[in-house]
Symmetry: C2
């Protein structure tokens, strides 16, 4: 399936960056996974019972399959952060790290006497990324939150539905943990910006980064806020269609959905030829996007009539052959079967000691081969798998270098 | 509305990082906006007629309102990259830059004799981030693409719908340019990882980063790929509900949608008390998530019956008062009116010379005040606004430092 099987050494542009994760569930672990994939040395701290995410999703041999990918390339240790007797280990880890990433409720680290001042007393160079639902201050900082709530409070969930009157169904999830994932990406970017300031500009100081789930998704709303402020327009749900461009929508083929993005004048004219409607290519009313917006129903009906006559894969092939952007809505099975995924190394065979042979998504983004590139060195470890290796070294003041996956 | 009005100096942890954008539409411009927000000095190159995105969305005084936010904190110059006579300007900009971010179709830079080898001959330290629909290689690299196609090919669009049989409506857009935005975040992270390698590890070499829209969204699919590989399970659309947790869904109040994430045993029991169903809190069948998954319809019906009796804001208040994560699905108008957004500086007054007073989303993520923080220094510039300032300085071999917004 792939020419990139599991390797025995972590490498990549972030080799040498030391990251400590005090995280659970999705956001902080995904942030550190992104850094680990690019070569950072990540130590993940779990309570003795393990991160609750070890129970998520399907299992094989009693182990979560998602875990294999979600926590790959990390080393896992267990530690009871409430237990004062464990403090020497905590201190050693904090002194070891360049970066700490955490996603407890605001105030939780402080209740364990691990607030930013305490951390910086041990290690003033420590960069601290704090991910939470509502952020570290503001009136709602103490509110419980989850990704779904962050997405809805941040303004995205309102938009994942149909215009009023089309259906009584609620707006949908995006099918992924969008709020957590976007926060994780922002945290990874913020961490590396702070590394730049500390090590390239040479301030030597560890900054604190405050990532709120809702603010990540809110920042993706593009023109919605300035258009509300300047034009008094509230962005409304638009279903499957692009509200500002025609044609760009999802159409029903005989066996599934086809997405067509025909949103330029030239693409539109090619599309009209393909669907046997040269009259629409010549129609002056429809020559520009503004005209097509005014006649959306007419344009979409003509496209829908053509798509409805054939399987989605056939329409996809015909359209792409004439440079009209189009694709089936891929299932994960379609992704695995697709030659482009295979050629790009996006589906990687992994032999996981906990669950056996499985597959992971490749490392994103891809770096060129002029230097070390990130890779899948090992899958998500067992609970406490690296306790001996790490605590022995770190408590002795040694750097605890990574070995091949034990 | 905010205590963070427009400032007259760009600052932040990335001050001193020089970024050249050869971009258009969403992905590359959003990537460089993220870097500019954190203090990077971004020069955006447009063709003489301007980036086509200047025509997107609502306008005031003939200027796009979205542009104000989408290209803030940058300096804008015009340059015809096809024109050999302009080559000295191009070369001066490449020599000036630390980083280049581009999102042309693969092969386009090469057709202009601006392939990576040519760029590195001028500036071997240049980091090059290339964003495209399908990536720089593989069988589909030459296919036309747009965000909607990347999202569908990457496996997310299939999931933004309802299970088969619930509705004939197609899966929805997420309401934002998800594929472009996620690619932009990955590119920003990749750029800063390459800066780390070049300047902290000291390789001195500019790496090339290949970001494909579809790979960004594919990487968010969590357990979907390993679960397909290990358990032969294809992830299917699940509508508004979290497929692995009960209760976590969207419910209809008298005036709009309410999202409740009651997905822990303790939260579930508190929720049962609030909705007047202590019997459900005591029901052994429903004590664990596994049990609630098996009786999802029963649990959801009881919650829905309670939510249906009152306005969403009232249910939101009652639930949050008892630490049950819940929120209305916020419109952008709700965001602007909310005290938490105001306290966090997420809605910022901006006086834009092109469109007048407007508002922008704040800088994400937030840095602490122990050093310079990113801010909104000026809104998206006019076409060619900084031509004289930049070309005069750069062609003379001077660094063209940023001034206050002219």
């Amino acid at each position: 399936m792939s020419n990139s099987p599991v390797q025995t050494a972590v490498d990549g542009p972030l080799r040498s960056l030391r990251v400590l994760e005090l995280g659970h569930f999705i956001a902080a672990p995904f942030c550190t996974r992104l850094l680990a994939d690019q070569g950072a040395d990540v130590i993940k701290v779990e309570p003795p019972g393990g991160d609750p995410a070890r129970d998520w999703g399907r299992k094989v041999n009693g182990h979560s399959v998602m875990w294999s990918m979600h926590n790959r390339n990390k080393r896992c240790v267990t530690l009871d952060l409430k237990d004062e007797a464990e403090r020497p280990k905590v201190e050693a880890l904090i002194r070891w790290a360049d970066v700490l990433v955490e996603n407890f409720r605001p105030g939780q680290l402080e209740r364990w006497n691990l607030g930013v001042d305490a951390l910086h007393a041990w290690n003033p160079r420590l960069i601290v990324a704090r991910i939470s639902g509502y952020g570290q201050d503001g009136p709602y900082r103490d509110r419980a939150s989850f990704g779904a709530v962050g997405e809805a409070f941040g303004g995205v969930r309102y938009l994942t539905g149909y215009p009023q009157g089309v259906t009584d169904l609620p707006p949908v999830r995006t099918g992924v943990s969008l709020g957590d994932d976007v926060a994780a990406l922002y945290a990874a970017m913020g961490v590396l910006a702070a590394v730049h300031e500390r090590d390239v500009l040479g301030t030597g100081k560890g900054r604190v980064i405050d990532v709120a789930l809702y603010e990540g998704v809110f920042s993706l709303l593009e023109g919605a806020l300035p258009e509300y402020a300047s034009c008094d327009v509230v962005r409304r749900p638009a279903g499957s269609a692009m509200p500002t461009s025609v044609p760009s929508d999802t159409y029903k083929a005989t066996d599934g959905w086809l997405v067509i993005a025909g949103n330029s004048d030239a693409i539109y004219r090619r599309l009209c030829g393909i669907i046997g409607r040269p009259d629409m290519a010549a129609d002056a009313r429809l020559a520009t996007n503004a005209g097509r917006l005014a006649h959306r129903a007419e344009v979409d009906a003509a496209i829908a009539a053509w798509v409805a006559t054939m399987p989605a894969a056939e329409a996809e092939r015909i359209l792409n052959d004439q440079a009209v952007p189009a694709t089936r809505a891929f299932t994960v099975a379609d992704c695995v079967a697709d030659p482009h995924y295979q050629a790009r190394g996006m589906v990687v065979d992994v032999d996981d000691p906990l669950i056996g042979p499985t597959r992971h998504a490749g490392v994103v983004p891809r770096f060129d081969e002029s230097g070390p590139t990130g890779r899948i060195a090992w899958p998500g470890p067992a609970v406490g798998q690296h306790n001996d290796e790490i605590f022995t070294e770190i408590l002795a003041g040694r750097p605890a270098p990574r070995k091949a996956n034990p």
